[in-house]
Amino acid sequence: MYTAIVAWATRLTFLILFATLMEMLLPTGELRRYVKLLLGLVVLVAILHPVMAFFRGETYIDVLLRTEFSAPWPDTSVEQGAALGEAALNTVADALTREVARTLELELQGLPDIETAQVSIVHQRAAVHVRGQPTAGLTDQVRRTVAAYLQIAVDHVDVHWIPR
């Protein structure tokens, strides 16, 4: 389209310049009128050139539609965005889980005979690493505390003792 317009304008420009020059150089006389009429006809044909080209079948619409759409396409921004949201959700979920575990650890450390406790939560299971004096009653208590706090079944809690 661009080249078509420029070509048309250039052709017309030179033609009119030429006609103006001719008109200046022509001597005044009988012939002058006819030459001017002729030049006018030529200019008319030049103006109508795109229209005639259209009827000959060289459509400019074609040229317009052929112009490339330089969009980055197809792109994966939606998938990327969804992945981004998921990743953020996972991060937040991890943070939440860690926080719950930390609160639980503090609570466990409040129990007698326990020095440190480390809780890790994976899906529906919890693993507790306890440093302290291992007794059967204490193991049971830890297990029940954790299960109650996390609202999970007692047998989903694994208690590991780390000897002092």
């Binding site: 048309w8 103006t20 330089s70 792109d75 990327q80 990743a87 937040v92 979920a93 609202q151």
Partner: protein, 424 residues
Amino acid sequence: MNSFRFGQCKCVYLVACCILFLFTATNSGWAAFSGEETWAPYPPQAPMNADSPVAQDDHRFLLEQALESQINLLDTSALDQVIAGLSSELRAELPEWDVRRIVADGGLGDRFSLLHLITRFASFLVREIVFNSQLLGQLALLAVFCAILRNLTHVFPTHGVAEPAFALSFLALLYIGLQSFRAAVDVAGSTLDTMVDLMHAALPLLTAMIAAAGAVTTATLYHPLFVSMVALVATLVRNVILPLTFLSAVLSILGSLSKDFPMKKMAGLVRQWTITLLGLLFILFFGVLSIRGAIAPVTDSIAIKTAKFLTGTFVPVVGSRMAEALDIVIGGSQLIKSAIGVFGMAAIFVIVAFPALKVFSVLFIFRLVTALIEPLSDERLVDALNSLAGSLTLVLACMLTVGLMFFISITILVSMGNVTTLVR
């Protein structure tokens, strides 16, 4: 009469464009950052258990976590490249491009206050006008020369000598005029290219953040629409409308050159087509973009609600708080989206405003020269310069219209994900 009404129509159009542009720029652009009400998602969804002791700190911490993970994963290399490719002059005017800082400050920095911008515009305009006063001198001198030649016609016994001499100096003058017109069209074209590059870099980021906020259906539906509309506008304006303005300028100059082949009506016709095309494009653009899908937000909200029930994989204590976590992630995504959007709006504004001032200064010089030489010069010359200025107004209108279209489309995108929140 006809040309008067036509000119008036054009002026009104241009002024309306400017006012709308400035209004949107100052209102929804960075004013959004000073006012709180546009920050609906923050704090995210008013914590459900606000009375619990840890809630406040907790939410802030979680939000930071969500923001950090999203910003780290966000691939902004395309936008970085576009900004690095800008001329240093424009880059100096842009706010600093750093998502973290924009999100943290909630603003574009001191450099981007309205007062500062106005002073920058004023100084830039004065500088450009002074720079272009050389053009004014050349044009005025040639016009005076033309007038002298014209008067010398009566001295020579035959008219044949003076007429070509006049035509020659006329052509020289119009050559200078056309040259600066061409420079202005080039400025408009490259501005358009820069804006399109920026849009093609910013649109995927905005879409990604809409999808990250859970509005996947909306993003999938609208992204192709926006991208193809931007490409369509760019192609049409670059390949059809800008050449047509140049064509109208050339035609009106040629027409005034010779008395025997006047082309005024032809030039007027081309100009009218140009304006009509631009207006149609404007209507089409906003017609397409303002179609809000009725289904998409609902589908999105269902998807989000489903996600809320997908808490079975967690320990119940964590699972019960996952709904909050989801809200926090959505709020974080919207924060980042707004930051990108506001930066994009500011960038579009800067990218279009300074070149527009450049073109405006050339236009100002043309009008000034036309007014100055009218008393002493030939009528044809005044006509030619005047129509050149008219075509230049069209170029300016083109730039501003496209800038406005892109600006508002970013606004629409920024507000898009938030609709989902409302539905939810």
